[in-house]
Symmetry: C2
Subunit: 339 residues, 2 copies
């Protein structure tokens, strides 16, 4: 039995009950300050009694805005959903928006039909969108930026042809901080496990590492590439160890990879930090639960998510916002970087 949809009270009903016009009810609902106080009270009473809730679709249609914001996640990224970083960004955005009139719609961008997402976005179904790209070059979205307020999480690879709003962390600086802390314990043979070479964050972190190494007057050791997952950290570390290069310190571009690498290091009979010092990025459960706990650079993903949401909302409201917002990072010294 197709449950009959319980009929919601309409604005009209409230108007009748309060003895005013629909327009007035609408004004009260929308918090206009040009309604006499006693009328406001009467209307609010009627609203409460009828348990009235405005109809979103009707409102959207009338005002030409949807009050909803999309959070776009490329399908490839969705597979990395278990990455605490993403979960936190999403959480931050959702929490922030829950304090506004906006609703968050989760959109998985299927790779089989890439136009589906952009059609949806362009179709006036949302007022703005947050693009969370783990992977690659998202030039596909850049074009959309012309027709809709878009905010990217993390620097997209595509060249910044203006109008591209980004909330990012200073990955290079973060990597430099981590590496410096590690080298300060007198290490001479640093290596790194980098991230996917088509990701801005990965490249920036690698660059930061190399800068720190260079400034310390040390030679650049071998580089292994992972994809930010623990498994990839393991194989990268195996590769590094097999390379025969002398290694006394490791900067891993993500805590998950550092975590994976540590298992390989232990299996090889080496100790952290005495044999190999480690520093990384991300203060997640992997960093905290490793033993020794990982010296890392925290990047408050939750705040980043909240900031992204805040920025779209501001852009939707026509406020001016800087195109590039850099979130602060914090070095957290724990055991893994040595003494």
């Amino acid at each position: 039995m197709p449950e009959p949809r319980k009929q919601q009270p309409t604005l009209e009903l409230v108007a009748e009950r309060a003895g005013v016009s629909r327009a007035t009810v609408s004004r009260v609902v929308n918090g206009s300050d040009k309604v006499k106080a006693d009328v406001v009270r009467a209307v609010e009473k009627a609203i409460a009694e009828l348990n009235y809730v405005p109809n979103r679709a009707a409102r959207s249609l009338a005002q030409g805005r949807t009050n909803s914001i999309a959070l776009v996640i490329p399908e490839s990224t969705a597979k990395f959903f278990a990455d605490p970083y993403f979960a936190s960004v999403i959480q931050g955005a959702a929490m922030y928006l829950s304090t506004t009139e906006f609703t968050l719609s989760l959109l998985i961008a299927t790779e089989s039909d890439p136009t589906k997402t952009s059609r949806y976005l362009r179709g006036g179904n949302v007022d703005g969108a947050l693009i969370l790209s783990h992977h690659a070059d998202d030039s596909s979205y850049s074009e959309l930026a012309g027709s809709l307020p878009l905010v990217f999480g993390g620097r997209p690879m595509s060249n910044e042809n203006g109008n591209v709003f980004v909330v990012d962390v200073d990955n290079a600086a973060a990597a430099r901080k981590a590496t410096e802390a590690m080298l300060k314990t007198g290490r001479k043979h640093p290596v790194t496990i980098s991230g996917p070479q088509n990701m801005g964050a990965a490249i920036d972190r690698q660059r930061g590492f190399e800068q720190a190494v260079h400034e310390a007057g040390l030679p650049a050791g071998p580089v292994a590439v992972g994809d930010f997952t623990p498994d990839s950290g393991e194989s990268a570390m195996r590769e590094l160890l097999a390379s025969g290069a002398k290694i006394d310190s490791l900067f891993a571009a993500s805590a998950q990879m550092a975590f994976g690498a540590m298992k390989v290091i232990a299996d090889a009979g080496l100790m952290v930090p005495s044999d190999i010092a480690i520093a990384t990025i991300d203060d997640d459960s992997f960093a905290r639960n490793a033993s020794p706990a990982l010296t890392t650079v925290a990047q408050n993903a939750e705040e980043q998510g909240a900031k992204m949401a805040e920025v779209v909302v501001q852009r939707i409201n026509g406020e001016s916002v800087p195109e590039r917002i850099i979130m602060p990072t914090k070095l957290i010294l724990r055991g893994s970087h040595g003494v």
Copy 2:
């Protein structure tokens, strides 16, 4: 400068271009089979040329359905967002819905204003809702079940007064399986770290553990309570060790807690599994990355999320669905349960 919203082509425009009425275009868009083939072609051509996308709000208003589904997360749960289990459920639901005409709205149920969420849900803003309750008794939502198709993830504590649709795993059976595997190695002094006592899943798992222990003719050891996080696992384990009880095996109600417990066990100079065998539930990165890797019962959270979404959609479409769907679990033997 408040970017002027680029005007989308309307149905009317398509109609003009195709030389038909709006009604016909609507029929084509909605896949009616009562439109002549050549007319369909003409309309589709016009749609493509204009890059027309139907307006969601208008459609909702006209048909009285929103094509969107809410995913409700209690704020308390949101804090546990980093729990890979939740992330996976959400991912599964989002992925499934991306193949349908429905959109997923993420709703954080604020505790400061609990009515906000239920008002939103009751306000006809969504066609159905998925309730993901980590915590406690959600009787608050049970009442809503009368006015909206609701599907719960995990058995809610409230008594099942019908009309409560649930997609759950057989937690008791899962716990029993894990415990049995662990006891089979000849352990005589099992203890458990349970979850929050106001959660169905936690209670069921504890019951499953107790059954297995009882069936093995063993005495029930002490029980410590955690909240499924690694940290709580640590303190629970410390408590257990401090209790002075003889312990040679541990069933932890979540891999995260098992992971935390292992650190305490190691600190106490004990070995897993020789001194203490461990079995748990959840095949997440914690289970896989512990050393030794954890013997556990996997519960495919992603599939559970997809199933939840599937069930709401079916209920929205008026199809009949069983009230209780139990997802299968799978025992995964790894090192931690002993030999």
